[in-house]
Each structure stands twice: as structure tokens, then as C-alpha cells.
Symmetry: C2
Subunit: 390 residues, 2 copies
């Protein structure tokens, strides 16, 4: 009973501003006594807190309530190819503490998830919280994920993880929902949260060992029907028609313009890069062949992005991933093609920018994933309905 109304009150407070009971009553049309009761419920759930008294016009001062004073937290986890990071965040996105470790994802789910389970407990203690304060866990994995079940699907660089039930593994560890998504999607969420909070149409493109993107349209991360939205690494690019891709096709963007592809091409011309990072190092040392290869990769990525710009008309394209660290060369190639080939109306206000959040985007995005879930009307309603105390 009353869960919808309580959730409505809470959604009003999600903007972070502190308000008195009287203000909330005026905004909702509810009786002040009803508001008082519902705020009590939200405080018992730890979702809002009192932030001191408002200046009152005569009479006694009125308490103000805000989500910024909530006690509850979420966990965000960034699982990369060779590292794991975990962070505790408040419901308004302030990171209270974090841990990281070099663990290859190829060590398998037990090794990676085991580390997360152990560190989560001690990290929460370190920041003065307990498992009971946790509302949700967000996890990003470096491969395709079926978001609804939280299972990786045929992830190429994650042996032992195929269809592994990640949320199921955490039963008994976390008593809250575990949301799983692929790393590029959470990087898009993190980049938007920190650098482009007002932007509702943003395309985040990761150019690293592989190539992928995260699509934010209408203010919402779009996963598509099977969760593969943004998976542009295997779009056909004519310049690479003869180049075989690990997916079995030929001419994929990833086979032509990823860090791995560039390293391979440079090795064929006598240099010795083995990774995306080696390519970046060559560029930073001023190697002309590497610079030209990275710029051409930018053009190839740009060719695919022209169609993306026509289809979803973003106002910002963010280029991230390790290869984006090669200075302006990659992005210059992207701009060269996108601004030339796309329709003027779609590009006149289009910004193409380097990632500003960099390596933190994934762990921040994982926290955002958990916060969005935790604060959704449906979740708040079910928390209220389940009983007003922890």
C-alpha cells in the first residue's frame, strides 16, 4: 500500500535538492500528514536523509530531506581483459572508495568473481558501510552479454565464461540484484555521467584491441532486441574487403582499424608492435608509419560512423579506448570522413570528442548502471511494499 505514492515522492527528490515536507506536499497535492508518513518510510529504508532545517518564516524551523543524505550505496565493477576494478558509490554518484587488481579475465569466472566477492566485503567495511547498505551491483564484462540474464554469450577473449550465470554465482554473496552488461555500454554510461550529463544522444566508440560502441538515444542506453546494439566492429568496410576477421567474415571494421589490426599491419612493414598500446607508443615517439596507420584507422571508423550519424543523429560522438590515447591522429581521421560525408543538418551541431573520463569510464558506468536500477520507480515501489525497514 502506498508504494506508488512513496516512489513518486522519492522520484521528486532524485534531482538532489533538499525539500521540506510542506514543499513536497505542495508539489504533489498530497496531505502534509501523508507526506510525513511516506518520508518516514523512505528514511527507514535509508533512501533519504535529513539535511538540517530550512529557514522558516516564524514558528519552528522545518526539516529538509534529500537523497544526498541517504546511507545506501551501490557497487560498480569493471572487469577488463587483464584487470578488475571495484568501487563503492553513493546514490548520487560520489565514489567512496575503490580497489583494483591485475587478474586476467582468461583465468575464468571463479578467479575473477571470487576476488570481487572478497574485496566487496572489505571495501564496504573500509568506507563505513555494510552489505545491508547495498542496493545493487553493476558489472561490466569485456565481451557480449545477454543483459536480461547477465550471461556472457560466446565472448571471444573470455575462456570459461560462455553462458556463465554471473548473477547466480553471487547468490549468497550479495543479497541484491546484480546487473551485468558489456564494457562498452558501461563506458558510454560513465562517459555521459561525468562529461556530458545534459546530452541525450551520445555515441561512445571504443577503439582498442577490438572496436565497439555504446548507443545512448533519447537519454537511454539502447541495447536493442538481443543486446547487440552498438556492435559495429563487424560492419563491412570496402577497403578491407580481402582481410579476414576472427568472426569468419572478411572486410570487418575491426579487422582493419582496431589496435590489433594496426599492429599486425605495421609488423608486416618491418616494425614490431604487439598490441594497441605498442601502436600508441610508436605514435607518441613520432613514427610516421604508425601515425599514418592510426589516421587511416580513424577514416575507416569514420566511414562506418557516417551511417550511424544518419541513423541516430547524435549530438556527441566520444572516441575512447586505448587507441584514442594516440593524440589527435585517430580522431582527426574520424572527423575528416564524418564531416565530409554526412548530411549538413546532422553534423552542423555534432561534436566529435576524445574521451575525457578515460580509464575510469567503465567503473563509473558500472556504478551508474546499478544506481539507475536501484532508484527506478519499480524498485523503490517493491522496496516500500516489502516493508519499511532494513
Amino acid at each position: 500500500m502506498g508504494s506508488t505514492v512513496t516512489s513518486d515522492l522519492f522520484q521528486i527528490l532524485r534531482d538532489g535538492r533538499a525539500r521540506t515536507r510542506t514543499e513536497l506536499a505542495a508539489m504533489t497535492g498530497l496531505a502534509r500528514s501523508t507526506v510525513a508518513l511516506r518520508i518516514e518510510t523512505l528514511m527507514e529504508l535509508g533512501l533519504v536523509g535529513s539535511v538540517g532545517d530550512a529557514v522558516s518564516t516564524g514558528g519552528r524551523p522545518s526539516s529538509q530531506f534529500a537523497i544526498t543524505a541517504s546511507e545506501r550505496v551501490v557497487l560498480g565493477v569493471d572487469v577488463g581483459a587483464t584487470h578488475v576494478r571495484i568501487a563503492v558509490s553513493t546514490l548520487t554518484g560520489t565514489v567512496l572508495g575503490e580497489r583494483h587488481e591485475r587478474i586476467p579475465v582468461a583465468d575464468g569466472p571463479e578467479a575473477v568473481l571470487g576476488w570481487i566477492a572478497t574485496e566487496a566485503q572489505s571495501l564496504l567495511t573500509d568506507v563505513g558501510r555494510s552489505m545491508g547498505d547495498l542496493l545493487a551491483v553493476g558489472i561490466g564484462l569485456p565481451g557480449p552479454v545477454e543483459h536480461e540474464t547477465g550471461r556472457p554469450i560466446n565472448p571471444p577473449i573470455m575462456p570459461g565464461w560462455d553462458r556463465f550465470d554471473v548473477p547466480g554465482w553471487f547468490e549468497g554473496v550479495f543479497d541484491v540484484p546484480v546487473l551485468v552488461d558489456n564494457d562498452v555500454n558501461i563506458m558510454a554510461l560513465g562517459e555521459r555521467e561525468r562529461s556530458w550529463p545534459e546530452v541525450d544522444h551520445l555515441l561512445f566508440v571504443k577503439v582498442a584491441t577490438g572496436i565497439g560502441s555504446g548507443v545512448i538515444a533519447g537519454g537511454v542506453l539502447q541495447r536493442g532486441a538481443q543486446g547487440t546494439a552498438g556492435d559495429i566492429g563487424h560492419v563491412y568496410v570496402a577497403r578491407g574487403a580481402e582481410i579476414p576477421c576472427s568472426c569468419g567474415n572478411r572486410g570487418c571494421l575491426e579487422a582493419l582499424a582496431s589496435g590489433a589490426a594496426i599492429a599486425r599491419a605495421l609488423r608486416a612493414s618491418g616494425l614490431d608492435p604487439n598490441s594497441s598500446q605498442d601502436v600508441v607508443d610508436l605514435v607518441k615517439r613520432g613514427n610516421i608509419d604508425a601515425i599514418q596507420a592510426v589516421r587511416q584507422a580513424g577514416r575507416d571508423v569514420g566511414e562506418v560512423l557516417t551511417t550511424c550519424v544518419s541513423l541516430i543523429n547524435p549530438s556527441v560522438i566520444v572516441i575512447g579506448g586505448s587507441l584514442a590515447q594516440a593524440g589527435e591522429h585517430l580522431i582527426a581521421g574520424v572527423r575528416e570522413v564524418v564531416y565530409t560525408r554526412s548530411m549538413p543538418l546532422a553534423t552542423e551541431h555534432l561534436q566529435i570528442a576524445q574521451s575525457r573520463v578515460g580509464a575510469d569510464a567503465a567503473v563509473i558506468g558500472a556504478c551508474v548502471l546499478a544506481i539507475h536500477y536501484a532508484l527506478s520507480p519499480a524498485n523503490i515501489e517493491s522496496m516500500v511494499a516489502a516493508g519499511a525497514s532494513r
Copy 2:
């Protein structure tokens, strides 16, 4: 006051089911007396009606209330290149009546909008409604539209319409908001409403004199940052590299695969089609050259759609527009390329289907555009706040 709560009650009723005051009280946690008051407000606004009594377990029977019994209506208008259609619809999408007329859009806004203003009045009277029953008007135009202002922007086939203030022209005619969008967007809305109501990720592609698409992602029509989302007619296709397009570029999809482009190509080989419709007629008469040209156009459209499938992962692609009437040939070409070139995970559940709603899609979609606006929480709240009677 109370507008939020009243709007919440109304949103519950949007599913079309009839409910008693007691049921609504249980669902919201509101007091039954509060529900009674708010239902009274919604009935005075004509937004819900009483639909008879529920079977009661002892005591007197309880009235049920539903949006299906509302008295309010919307207008939907489909302005095509050579026709105008107008329809009156209930808030649940039942068309009560319609009118159409052959008016070239090139006759200019006064001629077209004047006809709409006159016919709207008499059509409403015919179906037993008045201007006071109207909640909103949706209009589709055959060119780019800045949705927020309702102005066409550089529309190629609409002389005299550039930046014309369509909603402004209707001031004094309609006392309600006039929403304007391009024809392909409203066709996407209409096709989804009638044929794919459960589908949240749908791409509607119109292949006619021109080529464009409407993107529904996450259940929402996506217009993008400048309203150009879906504008895939000018994506570069290598096979047409040498063909000039009316936009000033070369190699645009539209210059290669639209009905106009196919008619031009067939004329060059000795046939005499002048329009998209002539091409369809040739195909229906079994002309081999025309059949092959339409199938190749399907492949060219399919090439662009492979990138779209990778980016937004729709579960349904609907092919509409006049050229789609050329039997299975167009769609066969689309399928040939999309199913071959896209990643398996994105295509294993992807349906590529012909438009089922056909020529009605636009006018139905225009009604949907108006209904979505009229029934939005924001609009209901402001109606409630403005006073509880018409």
C-alpha cells in the same frame, strides 16, 4: 493540486482495462475517498468514463471506469506529395471517421492547411464531436521537420513551406497543441501501432520516390539531436559512387535505389517509367529488367541496413513505401544482403517484413503522435491543474 496523483491514476487506466474505485485504491495506496475525487476530475475532463457496474460480492454493485469510454478525441493528418488525409481517433486508437483529397503539397501551406482547417470542423461534427472534445492534432509532412517547432526545414518537394510555422498557422483554428513530424516517422508509429504493438525495436524503411526510415528504439520513436534520425537516404553506397544526387553529393543510397532512380535507370535502357508507381507496374507485368532493378535496389538498401542492424539491433525491419508494393522482389534483395552480412546474434531473431498497414500507416501514425502527447503524464497534469472542467 493533486495533479500528479490524478495523472498517476490515469496512467494506470491507459492499458484500457476497466477498474472500480476500490481496485484503484488498492493499486495506488490512496484512500478510496481520494480516488473517488480524482476519478470525478478525470470524468469532468472527459478523459475516462463509466463503463457499467462490476459484479459485487454482496452490497451494491461498484461502477467501473475506463479510458475506452472517454469522450475526447485527436486528429491525425497525413500530408503526402499529392494528397491530404485527415482522421478523427479516440484516445485508444479507434478511427471514428476520415476524409481525403487530392491536393499537391506544392500548392503551398495555405491551400493544404486551409483544407485541413475546414474539413476538421465538419469531420468532427459528422462523428458527433466538437472542437472542445479535441486534445491534440498530429500532422505528418513529406519532408524534414524540426519537431520541436513544427517547421519544415529545406523540404525538397514542398515549395513555399521552408520554415513555415505550421502550429502557428493553426492558432485560432485549434485550441490544442499541433504536433508536426516527417511522414516516415509517423509511418513508423502507425505501422507499429497496428501490426507490431509488442515490438520495442523496429526500423521502418520507406522506399518510394525518396528513401528514409523511422527508428523506434526502446519503445520510443527516436528523432535524434536535430530531428534527422532515420535519414538514411544519403548514406554513401560504393556501387553508386559516380551517380550524382539531388543533395549535391555522389553515391547516395537515394540516387541509386529510390523509385525515381530506378525509373531513370530503366529509361536509360529503353523503357519509359516516369515514377516509382510506373516501376511497380512494370514489375507487376513481369518485366525482367524492372524486376532485376528492384531486386538490386533491395540489395543496395540492404547494404546500408546491415550497419543499422549492427548499431541498433532491431527485432523487426518493415519495408514500406510505394516500391514495396513490387511484390517480394525488393524485400528479397534486402534479405539477401542483411542476413548474409550481419552478425548472427543480431539477425537470428530479426524479421524483415513488408508493410502490412500500407497507405494507412501515415494517418494512423499521425493519430498516435497526437495520442502519445495528449495522454502523457505532463499533459494530463497540466490539464488537471488548469481546472477540472472543459
